[in-house]
Symmetry: C2
Subunit: 157 residues, 2 copies
């Protein structure tokens, strides 16, 4: 199979009303990717893709990202086995963000901290603004120390 | 009510395992925000927030964004009436992305092109990579020309 190539962006009409994938990456060469569980609709993570990650994701049907912390292309699940198989990929109106609906292999988790979703804490709103975050999941689904070993934690202060 | 203030980020443990909201904004001062329909789980849009947009969102329970095209703070629905009332807000593990589950006022649409979701086109995968995008919604829910009039289109080539 030949390498998938992306066409140039030429007009608002082409971008918003067309049938051609003409993705736009930010000044850092990256595009945000929303990844949700295809069956529950729960958002699992917000990742980033460069051109190559987007191309591999589309060609293989498995989510690939670009790690900003490690500055490398990253096949999700390469270390943890928690591969994300894509049920549906969608591009947004101005084609600078992508949404993947996935089925996750293994335990179904997607968060390096050990939870199912990276979004495991709710932010109190309105009259409760400023109150402590609320944990929404119970126990972690895996022990990050066992799974990742000496791999550096990607969270940056 | 006093202005909500965000604490400083001091450790990975504080950020990932704590109860304190310590958001991180990118080099451009912005954080990506995923907004989904609270009842269907459909992702409606990917927006951006600066500190003030995040603060107002949390304090008012209505989604506020920062428009990168217009470089202004933006209360969603101010022009269109399609206000997003937040059912739940969640922060991710490293606290540099937020997810809003919302109920949208009026027609329920969130996309300036006129569709319900900004993600109205699917990207063919695998053996079908490179084939035309697939439109997932039927007719537009509103006529953007009528609603926005002379407001410049935010899509940038």
């Amino acid at each position: 199979m030949g390498k998938l190539e992306f066409a140039s962006r030429t007009s608002v009409e082409q971008i918003e009303e067309g049938y051609e994938l003409v993705p736009k990456f930010g000044p850092d060469g990256l595009m945000p990717c929303i990844t949700s569980d295809a069956s529950t609709g729960e958002v699992l993570m917000l990742g980033w893709m460069n051109t190559e990650a987007l191309r591999l994701t589309i060609e293989t049907g498995e989510a690939h990202y670009f790690s900003r912390a490690r500055q490398v292309l990253w096949r999700k699940g390469a270390t943890s086995g928690l591969v994300q198989n894509i049920v549906e990929a969608r591009i947004d109106d101005d084609q600078d963000a992508i949404w993947l609906r996935v089925e996750v292999a293994g335990s179904g988790a997607s968060c390096h901290v050990g939870y199912r979703s990276c979004f495991y804490r709710a932010v109190p709103l309105g009259a409760k603004a400023g109150q402590p975050l609320v944990y929404l999941e119970g126990d972690k689904t895996f022990d990050p120390g066992e799974v990742y070993g000496d791999v550096p934690n990607p969270t940056q202060i």
